[in-house]
């Protein structure tokens, strides 16, 4: 009985994460929440916002989909940074469920992939909740006015050899060029975020 109840609670917490999804045009929430970066500093989304825009990616270490996309995330993120877009990767998973998502493992992963942008811990999972993020890797791109212009997948295939549509890269290029983003929302299969329980 206890395990059934516990599992039901886990299920309800997972679903609760999707209750407040952002709409295109919305401003980023939780921008002043400080989160611990892999370099030990406390940073917020407001701290890293770029003059051309801001890219927030909900990510983690353990998820096979993140692993499939992680080199592309690093490449797009690093390139976006160099073009004036502030980039931050946020891990909202509870490491109690996935030890691979611990802070120490995040530090190793960021170094291995050569992230030039912060990779931070969402210690309550509330930042993910406020965005309505439910999966990893899930991208939110805001333009220079702070409005959401792209939400969804990195591209259209976890297999790099099968990619036909570079959704996030195209959106970043459009924002930098001050043009309209052609594809504003995409859906994709990903690992559900393992939200920390509300206290």
């Amino acid at each position: 009985m206890k395990s059934s109840l516990a599992m039901a609670l886990v299920a309800s917490v997972s679903v609760a994460g999707s209750a407040f999804a952002l709409n295109i045009g919305d401003k980023a929430p939780s921008t002043t929440v400080k989160m611990k970066n892999v370099d030990g500093r406390e940073v917020s989304i407001a701290d890293i916002a770029g003059k051309e825009g801001t890219l927030v990616i909900f990510s983690c270490n353990h998820c096979p989909f993140v692993k499939a996309w992680q080199e592309r995330i690093a490449a797009i993120g690093n390139a976006a940074e160099s073009k004036g877009i502030g980039v931050i990767a946020i891990n909202s998973n509870d490491p109690a469920d996935y030890p691979e998502d611990s802070y120490a493992e995040m530090q190793k992963r960021a170094e291995k992939l050569g992230f030039k942008f912060p990779y931070v811990v969402d210690a309550t999972s509330d930042v993910a909740r406020s965005f309505g993020a439910t999966r990893t890797p899930e991208a939110f791109l805001f333009d220079k006015d702070g409005k959401l212009v792209y939400h969804g997948a990195i591209d259209d295939s976890q297999n790099a050899a099968h990619v036909e549509k570079h959704f996030l890269q195209d959106a970043v290029d459009a924002v930098v060029a001050n043009k309209d983003v052609a594809t504003k929302e995409t859906k994709f299969v990903g690992c559900g975020i393992k939200f920390r329980s509300k206290t």
């Binding site: 059934s4 599992m7 039901a8 886990v10 299920a11 997972s14 679903v15 999707s18 999804a21 096979p64 469920d97 996935y98 439910t134 999966r135 997948a153 259209d156 295939s157 976890q158 297999n159 995409t186 859906k187 994709f188 299969v189 990903g190 690992c191 559900g192 975020i193």
Partner: protein
């Protein structure tokens, strides 16, 4: 004598443990008996409409997805218990479609001897098709596991994103099948 009593007691506990485990997990099946067919979202919609079943439970899962693996025994159990009452369970793997071998291995270990499927379509089109014409106010955004339950006419009755227990599945299956549905077959 005391030692004998302890041995008997531990034997009873082992047997009881075995029975409890049996209740939760179906026996494995030979991997040769596992069928995995590539499908698109439209294939699933067609299969639901043409199933002839009173209720169809579609579960999208992946071998690497921990909550998917957790809820799997409950899905297999509900499939076995309500198959004779008119339930069809479609297990659709979201693993890369080149990974059929590990999918078959997992299904064999889980005791799935009924037809199973693997997603053979890009995510956006697959998700959009399963969400199409949904009468519900919630839609699947792609997080795993995801489970849909349809009636015999293909009408979507409910949808869960995230891990669900056997009891929740059972309650909804009975509701869609009709209140008179009683579990038969399989482990209980």
């Amino acid at each position: 004598m005391m030692a004998l009593r302890r041995l008997c007691a531990s034997g009873v506990l082992v047997c009881l443990g075995f029975v409890l485990v049996s209740c939760e997990r179906a026996a494995s099946v030979p991997i040769e008996n596992v069928q995995v067919t590539p499908v698109t979202g439209a294939d699933i919609q067609r299969a639901v409409h043409d199933s002839g079943a009173k209720a169809v439970l579609v579960n999208v899962w992946a071998t690497w997805c921990a909550p998917c693996r957790e809820e799997f025994p409950g899905l297999v159990r509900v499939a076995r218990q309500y198959q004779a009452q008119g339930l069809k369970v479609m297990l659709v793997s979201a693993d890369d479609d080149s990974d059929v071998a590990p999918v078959k291995k997992f299904l064999a270990a889980a005791g799935v001897d009924f037809p199973a499927y693997i997603k053979a379509q890009k995510d956006q089109a697959f998700i959009d098709t399963l969400n199409k014409q949904s009468p519900l106010d919630k839609q699947w955004d792609g997080a795993l596991p995801a489970t849909f339950i349809y009636d015999g006419s293909g009408k979507l009755h409910d949808f869960w994103e995230g891990e669900v227990t056997f009891n929740v599945f059972q309650q909804k299956v009975v509701e869609v099948l009709g209140k008179q549905a009683k579990p038969t077959g399989g482990t209980s």
